[in-house]
């Protein structure tokens, strides 16, 4: 599903709203999250998940082809941690394989 499909689906469920407004709502949400992350803030959406920014320290890496050392500057990367409810929800529906009974597994004698 891409953004335009998300907007279409929301429009179908909210026939009283203009599609133009739904577009603005969706864009505003992602824009706010992006602004917050760019500020270094965390975005926590209970049940859905949390976005945060992680710092990656500067390091000396190597060009794998030439073996030459390259210094990589410190950088910040966006990170998403799935919320508990969503994580459970993802595993509770349809084609999730039936859990294998623990007893049926290989012997777990400590060696």
């Amino acid at each position: 599903m891409v953004k335009s499909e998300l907007i279409m689906r929301l429009a179908e469920r909210n026939p009283h709203l203009y599609q133009r407004d739904i577009e603005r709502i969706v864009s505003t949400i992602f824009e706010e999250v992006s602004i917050a992350l760019a500020r270094g803030d965390r975005v926590e959406l209970r049940g859905f998940g949390a976005f945060s920014v992680k710092r990656r320290a500067a390091r000396v890496a190597r060009n794998p082809r030439t073996g030459a050392s390259v210094s990589v500057e410190e950088k910040f990367v966006p990170f998403f941690k799935t919320g508990k409810e969503l994580r459970i929800f993802l595993n509770s529906l349809r084609d999730t394989p039936a859990p294998v009974p623990a007893a049926a597994g290989p012997a777990t004698e400590p060696r």
Partner: protein
């Protein structure tokens, strides 16, 4: 890092400011957007939001884990996990704005 937390409340407020809906309706719409994304992911679809990133579901196989405290082997059952891949636009925005003002 800066250390503030943005929640649904701020997102609803931003929607309220941006679109001419009531505060209540704005909050409901924020919720609907999240829900629509969740439902799509549960169906196993990938959700791609341009210039933000994409969410996709990865199937993980069964493996043997270990209880770090007791050393006991525990089977970890096959499961589905959600992965977020930020877009380059988002990564660049975060680096442009953060590294500019805080060398840390």
């Amino acid at each position: 890092m800066a250390g503030n937390t943005v929640t649904r409340a701020q997102l609803s407020e931003a929607v309220y400011q941006e679109v001419g809906l009531s505060r209540n309706e704005s909050a409901d719409l924020v919720e609907s957007v999240l829900k629509e994304i969740e439902e799509s992911l549960i169906r196993g679809e990938t959700v791609k939001i341009s210039s933000f990133g994409s969410f996709y579901v990865r199937e993980k196989g069964r493996r043997i884990g270990r209880n770090p405290k007791t050393g006991e082997e525990v089977p970890i059952l096959p499961r589905r996990v959600l992965v977020f891949r930020p877009s380059h636009v988002l990564k660049d925005r975060i680096n442009g704005e953060l590294s500019a003002k805080q060398p840390e």
